[in-house]
Structures are given as C-alpha cells and as structure tokens.
Amino acid sequence: MKKTVLTLAAILLVPSLALAADAELSYVLNTFSFLVMGVLVMWMAAGFGMLESGLVRSKNVATICLKNISLFGIAGILFYLIGYNLMYAGVDGGFIGSFGLWGPDDAAALSGDYAAGYAASSDWFFQMVFCGAACSVVSGCVAERIKLWSFLAFCVVLTGIIYPIQGSWVWGGGWLSEMGFTDYAGSTLVHSVGGWAALTGAIILGARKGKYGKDGRVNPFPGSNIPLATLGTFILWMGWYGFNGGSVLALGNAASAIEMSNVMVNTNLAACGGMIAAMILVQIMYKKVDVTMALNGALAGLVSITAGPATPSLGAATLIGAVGGILVVLAVPFFDKLKIDDVVGALSVHLVCGIWGTLAVPITNPEASFVTQFTGVVAIGAFVIVTTSIVWLALKYTVGIRVSEEEEMLGCDSTEIGMEAYPDFQRVSSGRSGISSHGVHVG
C-alpha cells in the first residue's frame, strides 16, 4: 500500500517546472482523495450501526447503537495511541511495527519537497477509519447477549494491537507483502479479521437463550426494524466506494484516476451481483425473498470484490460478487446448524466472503498467486483466532462477557444501560422462544 505510493511519489519527482507545479497539485489531490474517501469509510460505521439496530430485537437496540458509535471512538483513540505505528512504522519485512504515539510530520512538503505524496494526517485518517470497520463486524455478531464494557474492552485490544499487527504484515510492508500476498482494500485484513474475531466471540459467548430449540430447531428472532437495516446497507454500499476507491491511495495522475474509476465501478457491480444472486437463490430455496438475505447479499458482493477490485472486468466483478451472494445464502443456515449464533450474518458476509474474495484475486490478477493468497488467509486467520480467543477468555474469566439470563430476557437496553430504544411504543411480548411474532418452527 505505502509502497505503491512511494513509487508514485517517485514518478511525481521528475524535476521540471511544469511537473513541479504538477507535483504540488498531485500532492494536494492525493491528500484530498484520502480525506474524501476516508469520510465515506467513516460513514460505514453509521451503516453498521443502522444495519445492526435494524436486525436486533427492540429490547437490545439502544445498546447496539451505543456499541457501534463508541467502538468508532475507541478505534480513533487507540489507532492514535498505538495502532498506526504498530502497523506502519518500521515494519520492513517483519512481523510488527513499533510502539509510540503517532503525530504528523509534513516538514518536507511544507518546504517544497512533495516526495511523501500526501499529507501525513490524510493517510492516518484513511487508515484509522478502516480499523474501526473491523470492530463493527464483531459487534453485530455477538449482539444481544454480550456485556457492554467487556465488548468495549475487546475493541480496545482489537483496534490497538491485533488489527495493527496483522495489518503490518501486508499494508505495513511486512513478511506477507514481501511474499507477494495482495489484499487491495481488506477482504482479509479488515473483513475476515473482524469475522474471525466475531467467530471466536460467538463460540465463547454461546448462542442467545432460546435461539436453538432442544429438537435442533432454529427459532428465528426477527430483526425489529427492516427499513433501518436497509438504510444501513445503503450506507455501507455508499461507504464502500470510498473503502475500495480510496485504496488506490493516489489521485495525482491520470493512471490513478483511471484505476479509481474502475475500482468504483467494479465495487458497484459486485454489490449488484451479490444482491441479485442472493435474491434469486433465496427465492428458489424458500419460495420467498427474505429482505435481510438480499441485504446480506449486497454486502457479500462488496466484501468479495474488496481484495482485488482493480483487475477484474465489469463482468468478472459482477460474477465475483454473485458467488459471494450465493455463499452467504448457504452460510447463514450452515452456521445455525453448528449452533453458532450470528445475529446479523456477520460471519457469512465478512468471514466467508472475505476468504472467498482473497482467494479469488488470482483469477483476474496475474501477479497474485493462489498459494500465497491461501497462505495469507491461513496465517492471518490463525493469528486472529488465537489472539482473540485469548482476549475473550481472559475477559470471560475475569469481568465476565455475558449478561445474566434474566437480563438477556428483559433485554440489554433496560438492564445494561437503563433505557429503552422505543419507549413510546407498545411492544408485542415474545414468549421464551423469543420470537417476536410468536412463531413456532414448521417443517
């Protein structure tokens, strides 16, 4: 990632009056691209928040709102305190960066040397918002039963240490990047990482009370607000243009502008492909189109293309996304079979499609090798599974990670934060099965 930019900066340095002029404006454009695209990525935090608020039951909505906004605050502070330097400072080929507060240094640029290519803070901003995304993936999966402060404590470690270390291996110029592992905008580095962390969390926490009936039946806990979930998906889709488009890491010359355009078009088509494929499959399998599956399908397409949005043709991008959409429709019931309770489908979307997207890169990118991609997926997966399991278990056996059964029954909103999300509205009580609309499983 960095490297790309350095070479780019090199190009910009050809000493010629006109090009010197160029160099400064290129620097400005690179910087502005980081800022604008970074704002779009920040916006994804709201997208996750709305998606999750829409997919949890009304008794847990205020809590999920609080988690989603506070984790973004934690990500910002931690990435400043440790994260950024751990990920980018002096990794050169190794396994970890260095410790220390981060601060911008633009002295060179201010004295007319634009080799850096962009303002330091603009890059920090763009990297920071990515870091937040990984946490957002976790919050949805472990919702409705995890303790607020234990979750936030987990986010501190994830954003401050776990995410940056594995990130250093690739984007920090560490061993995996040396090996040739490529992950354009983070199918693995962001989404799978969030997914693995969510997986260990979901397993260690256990399923929500009543989710899995004794006779192995699955009791659906319908999401309480479908338009919010839809809004969240639209926001994520919008933010993803910045997530992938900004990952060109440059806008200072025609080549990067062209690449950014192709990346954004492919990102969009992958989302289209994922959503339409999911809708068709769910219609065939269940004779009805589950909205939440269509939403997951769009996100699946987006995650799938994220590892390599620059190389595929429009058609290939659509298909890569479509495969993601199909995977998600199959993965959701699969995780339920394993009794791994994923409230919003985060595992199916971010973990499964994150892996798929990373492995799919060689299909359209000759420079990538399947073996290396596979190595990266496994290495990062193993690292995150181990480290996050340690953190979850440490929390479990100290402060505890799960609310009491009664608190879970009453909902985290009134017990954990003492407030209702929708106090003015008559709720339809659910029986123990927790199914808002009192369904009983059939067939």
Partner: protein, 112 residues
C-alpha cells in the same frame, strides 16, 4: 346491564362500528388483541428458518348495554362481522352490576 364483548377480524371494524351506531348505541371500547384458534396463521421466513405465526391479530370490542339491547346488538355484530371463513371470531355476553359515567357521576343505564 350486560357487557357484550366480541372478537372480530380487524378489517371488519368499520362495518361493525357502523352497524352498532345504527342501533343507536353511542359508545364502545376497542382494543388490539391476538387470537389463537382454529384459524391457522401464515408461515414466515427469517434468515433461512421458516416459522408459523400462530397468534393472529384480532380486534376486541367491548360494549356495555341495557339488557333489552343485547339481542339486537349480538345479531347485528354477528351479521356484520361474518365472512363465513374460519377465524371470524366470537361474541360473549356477561353481566354488569354497576356502571358509572365519570364525568357526571350518573350511574346505571343513564351512564351508558
């Protein structure tokens, strides 16, 4: 005085209300309930799991009327609320010993 209580299909509310007012009965109290009975709910689908809705939305109307109004009222409700399809609901009649109009303190049939 009697209390006539009926559980009907929600979309029948306006018709039943009209029929009741036509009888010159000036007041009623309505509430949202869910019913369980012979009528079976439709199945829904959520994230790969199908399930059946077994409590069906119904409307409950409560009216307190004088004894002589009961029969007319009951048959009017029965007529209007009836679609002939399962789930049309029930009418129950019970005794009311006393009735007071809060505004005036009037009691008995004058209070209705």
């Amino acid at each position: 005085m009697k209390k006539v209580e009926c559980i009907i299909k929600p979309f029948k509310l306006d018709d039943v209300k009209a029929a009741i007012t036509d009888l010159g009965i000036s007041g009623m109290t309505v509430s949202e309930v869910r019913g369980f009975g012979r009528q079976k709910g439709h199945t829904e689908l959520y994230r790969g799991a199908e399930y059946q809705i077994d409590f069906i939305p119904k409307i409950k109307i409560e009216l307190v009327v004088s004894d002589d109004q009961v029969d007319g009222l009951v048959s009017a409700i029965q007529r209007e609320a009836c679609t002939g399809r399962i789930g049309d609901g029930k009418i129950f009649v019970s005794a009311i010993e006393q009735s007071i109009r809060i505004r005036t303190g009037e009691s008995g049939e004058d209070s209705l």
